[in-house]
Symmetry: C2
Subunit: 430 residues, 2 copies
């Protein structure tokens, strides 16, 4: 067996501790799969004294994460610090500069600096691996980059944030509102104290940007992702979705269009007959559509110590076997600049919920706004009567361009009989 692979781990939070535990628990199995032993020789974390439930006495300790890159007892750096800049970026750059392979779970870092880091890694001839950054334990990066490598992909989409999926699943099952379920998720530890990264869609957008680059061979372009979170999804919309044959999911969608590549993260109406409609709770799922392979779906746990450690160690085994692929599948030097398709050019069907005063003529006014913008109605639903009071009216449209849809919604919002801002949710053709 070849010499041991000496690993430096920066960041000993949940995932870092999980990675150390996995490397220890399955040391023999991993050695067999890797062709050599994987040994953690150095770690870096803020607080040395914290009890992490494991013996770190034989392991070198660095206050400053960047020092891991320089340590001659470290062959490969595992970056689990997080954050798009600061210590994480400094460490990854230092490791690459020293010719050391990097394994990271840091989606924010790669979403912002992925292209530059991939180029640096390629120039240095070292792998930069990030399976753990997207969809936790699901081997989706390997799946896209190697398993489906021969296909021209037309679309990649999925449920990329477990916190949002948990909240939406719970809202539906228990018919409760967003705020209430979020508070409970925070109590249970499924959502952060500051939940905005998750519920506003940023985390999903980071991951989507990485999937896009991997699927389409483009530079990572987080800035052009259209992002909407789930704060505005109401129990009422979820109930209507059910009635119309949909589930509401926060999807990340990357798609080739005539206008460039569309990257969108937003609540979506997902037809109940599709596989991802049934992905509930903290699970993630990613769907890839290739010209030869057809539709491939991968589902699993998108976060947590165990699943993320599983992905980190899979990358380490690849490093140990010197099994290397360009970071985003195609050589970094030839990654294409991404031409973003503007969201205004998006074509699709739409769900719209209005709260209108229940009196004659209102529907005529609303439908006139749609007609004036060439938006064709597919269905209309008004349930219950409350003369003179606000009642919900739900519309779905045929396929139309988003720009026109938005103009129609502006007209509708301006009607005196429409009491709240219209709620619009895109219907996905999956």
């Amino acid at each position: 067996m070849a010499e041991i692979l000496k690993i430096g781990v920066a960041g000993l939070g949940t995932v870092g501790a999980g990675t150390l535990r996995l490397l220890e628990r399955h040391a023999d199995r991993i050695a067999e799969r890797a062709g050599r032993r994987l040994v953690v020789t150095a770690v870096s974390a803020r607080d040395r004294r914290r009890d992490r439930g494991m013996d770190l006495s034989g392991v070198r300790w660095f206050q400053d994460a960047t020092a891991l890159a320089a340590d001659p007892e470290v062959d490969v750096v595992v970056e689990l610090i997080g954050g798009a800049d600061g210590a994480a970026k400094a460490l990854v750059e230092a490791a690459i500069a020293r010719g050391k392979p990097v394994v990271t779970a840091n989606k924010a870092l790669l979403a912002i600096h992925g292209t530059a880091l991939a180029r640096a890694a390629e120039a240095a001839g070292v792998p930069l691996a990030f399976e753990a950054a997207v969809a936790g334990g699901i081997p989706i990066v390997k799946g896209l980059r190697e398993g489906l490598a021969a296909n021209a992909l037309s679309r990649v989409y999925g449920i990329l944030n477990g916190t949002c999926n948990y909240i939406l699943s719970t809202m539906r099952r228990e018919q409760r509102e967003f705020g209430e379920v979020l508070a409970e998720a925070q109590r249970l530890g499924y959502a952060e104290a500051d939940p905005s990264f998750d519920v506003d869609g940023i985390d999903a957008a980071h991951k989507l940007a990485l999937l896009t680059a991997t699927a389409f061979g483009t530079e990572v372009d987080f800035a052009s992702v259209h992002v909407e979170g789930i704060r505005h999804v109401s129990a009422l919309d979820i109930a209507y979705a059910d009635e119309l044959g949909f589930r509401i999911k926060l999807l990340g969608i990357a798609r080739l269009t005539d206008h460039g590549i569309e990257q969108r993260v937003h609540p979506s109406m997902v037809p109940i007959g599709t596989p991802i409609a049934h992905v509930e709770g903290v699970f993630n799922a990613v769907v890839a559509e290739g010209d030869f392979v057809g539709r491939v779906v991968m589902e699993g746990r998108g976060a947590g110590a165990g699943p993320t450690a599983s992905a980190v160690v899979a990358d380490l085994i690849d490093v140990a076997r010197r099994r290397s692929v360009p970071t985003f599948g195609r050589p970094a030097a030839s990654l294409q600049k991404l031409v973003p398709a503007p969201i205004a050019r998006h074509r699709g069907c739409y769900y719209v919920r209005l709260m209108v005063v229940d009196r004659p003529g209102v529907i005529a006014d609303v439908t006139a706004c749609l007609r004036d913008e060439d938006v064709s109605l597919e269905s209309m639903l008004q349930r219950g009567r409350a003369p003179g009071e606000a009642v919900p009216v739900v519309l779905t449209t045929h396929e139309t361009e988003e720009a026109g849809m938005r103009r129609a919604l502006d007209r509708i919002a301006a009607l005196g009989t429409v009491m709240e801002p219209p709620r619009m949710i895109r219907i996905e053709d999956l």
Copy 2:
């Protein structure tokens, strides 16, 4: 870019032609992913004159497939002949003996000779890759062998035969019987003229044997797979399954138990709430359960020219990049002998349908048989009355051992009031 990779393809049926088409259509994309160009330099097939819709004039042609292995213009051999022995086996052995990597879609060959071939490949230091042999375009072999490599797996199971899944899905949707739907599937080209390989579960068992070896690091042991096909599944059982909250699927299941490794292929009652209950038609799906990663599900097209070619070329790209892993994940020399858990020791819940004479006392006799073998009843369903005639009675049991269940069924079958052999379908705890 490195020198070109010269490919010899044996077998130009649907998959062979699809592979050639894919290599040609996406030559540039594949070259980028592979780091070098992949060129088909030689082929072998029975009939040279058949029109395959492509120009093979510049390609060397061999009547005898084995000659591909000896051709100095062939770096890697793609075996798409099929069959557990004969030309396929001779070619693969010859290629390995000459130190040439092999990519194959041949599940029968590897199910029978996989251990020996993996050892020969390892001794020769060449990869033997078989992504296309299991679940078509789904990158499940790579997923298990690399993506989940760090996990101790406890169970791997799935829908491994698209023909059976198509037949069962259609039977349910159209409330029709097996024979009728099979005949239609044959007319549509979804089932072979001799359908026994598919409908009797052999094909699924071949694939399961390969998944087992990959998941558990054991020798391939097709002989110990317990196999039952779908010929006995009736529309009536499918309707009862629906009523009880199940779908009937032909599953292949490999599981670690206290008695060894269970390998079973048979119709199964799958709870409607699970992801694979919704896998319909010709799609395949595989579920793996790992101790760190949890449950991972992969779904896609299990057969056909495009999906299978996608898997073949993915393996070729790995070969081109010299990205190699032991055939079944762990070195062939250390594959463990598989200790098979006898099906008689299987523990689970059971669905049983009886056709009994509708008269007082029959149920008492049936339940006495179960009691005498310590089988505990979970539910009993008798719908409709037809005094003196045969009516269906459906039972489900609590968890029990298969040996006792079978003895109870023998007793029940011997009752004078039971008109047909009892139908038993295992309920899976997924």
